[in-house]
Amino acid sequence: MDIQITGLHQRFGRVVALDSVDLSIPGGMYGLLGTNGAGKTTLMRIIAGVLAPTAGQVRVGGHDLTTRKGRVAVRRRLGYLPQDLGLYPDLSAREFLDYVGLLKGLDETAARRRQVGELLELVGLADVADRRLKGFSGGMRRRVGIAQALLGDPALLVVDEPTAGLDPEERVRFRTLLGSLAGERTVLLSTHIVEDVAQTCRQAAVLTAGRVRYTGPVVELARLAEGMTWEVNAPAGAPPPAGVVVSAISQPSGTRYRVVSEAPPGPDAVAVAPSLEDGYVALMRRPAR
């Protein structure tokens, strides 16, 4: 299910959330990176058919999302995991999924129950399927969220900040699960955690202040920091004078900094291969056109 976006604008009163966004999203796993407030959630809500765009063209699988008919058609083939996912605390995981299945139009009881059971297995919640959701941890709730999104075998999966607030183990687990889901479907992953995109997506877009700053292969994004990524040792409490510090590792001899900078940040700075995070930082340092 490909997504074509042309000249998309979104306003909330006087606030411009999206400004002239052009994007072409093919099938498979696609990452959407950006800082908080960059407009990622707004874009995800538009693609999910939850929000009507102020201006511009958005087509998802051929459906025009500027029309109500198009948005309803997309919602029928959609799995959506919103950023602020809420669950009914008085239902069990199995009941909640059954409820969402009914709302998705899965009317055949036996088939729906079977699918719910399979998804609970898939997300590793089969053992606690009949426990009330009010006792679930953040990670377990997110897994219920992804299971409900997968109900009805949607062609398009829109997941908004799915790993926010998860502990590292849950994050890796969740990422792996998402990666395995792409296959034939389009999975759109919005996040501000660069590592999540690095580990799961081949293509990505970067959004800042409502505009697309980058779109293309993830490896190309990393290459934006080629020749600009350095590691340098410095005494504790004295960060390098130039560039953006990507990481700082404390050592007995001082602190080892990883820096993105056009020029070497110190006489003993060593050039290193850039990661996606370095590429992202390099992109953010560029002036917006």
Binding site: A48, R71, L85, G105
Partner: protein
């Protein structure tokens, strides 16, 4: 389509039945009503009275205060979707606003109606043993269907929707005030909706059930045109009005939400 409506209704019913406050407050209020009913209450209805009169009295006793519980309980059923963060998820599902609200409305009525029905059946059981007639069960059902259910439908419509405008806690305060003013305050003391066809306390169906005017039905005064002579037809009119008016806030909300929804 019907599968979705049935599903929302079923799960709304289930979630509300699990709400302990519904059961605890109902039991407390009904116990209070039974204990303090005084010598005009149903326990003091003469032995020669018909099952209809007996159960009519029980219905009135229970229904004078029970809607307070139901209105308060129902007040968070729609707004809580936003509070819990479920609304964002629901918006991404292929389900219309009308069906969502209708399912919550029907599920809410069923869940809050059940304790009222059980209370009436318990009273019918007591009276059946006490008076030796099982007709009390039939009249308990009639009391539920004519007095409780229309009033509950009216209360549910407003209780689900009004908290979208004024917040659930404020609605609860206003609702308690409305209940005493609009249902129990004698109209000759204060201009009020009490005793009109529009009172969800069910003055007209209760008058029909008891065979005599009760709860100021038909008394002259302010809004006298809404207080016709209590007859079977007037009771039927009152039931129809309560059902229709109860649905109105839902219809308005669905139209407004459709307007605002993508």
């Amino acid at each position: 389509m019907l599968g979705q409506l049935w599903g929302i209704c079923r799960y709304e019913f289930r979630m509300q039945l699990r709400k302990r406050s519904l059961w605890i407050s109902t039991v407390l209020l009904l116990t209070f009503a039974v204990v303090t009913q005084g010598d005009r209450g149903p326990r003091h209805v003469p032995m020669e009275a018909t099952a209809r009169e007996v159960m009519g009295n029980w219905t009135v006793l229970f229904w004078i205060m029970l809607p307070l519980v139901f209105g308060v309980v129902l007040a968070d059923r729609v707004v809580r979707d936003r509070r819990l963060g479920v609304r964002g998820l629901l918006l991404g599902l292929p389900v219309g606003e009308g069906r969502l609200l209708a399912g919550k409305y029907l599920g809410g009525i069923a869940a809050t109606g059940l304790p009222g029905l059980l209370a009436l059946l318990a009273a019918a059981g007591y009276e059946a043993v006490h008076r030796g007639t099982i007709a009390t069960f039939g009249w308990a059902l009639v009391g539920f269907l004519t007095v409780m259910l229309p009033g509950l439908a009216f209360v549910a419509g407003f209780a689900l929707v009004c908290p979208l405008l004024v917040s659930a806690p404020l609605f609860r305060v206003l609702f308690v005030g409305y209940w005493f003013w609009g249902n129990l305050t004698a109209p000759r003391f204060l201009p009020s909706l009490t005793g009109t066809l529009l009172t969800p306390v069910g003055a007209y169906p209760a008058s029909w059930l008891l065979g005599e005017p009760v709860m100021h039905a038909g008394v002259p005064g302010w809004l006298a045109m809404l207080r016709p002579e209590p007859t079977g037809a007037a009771a039927l009119g009152s039931v129809a009005l309560l059902l229709v008016i109860g649905v109105l806030p839902l219809v308005v909300t669905v139209l407004l939400r459709k307007e605002g929804r993508a």
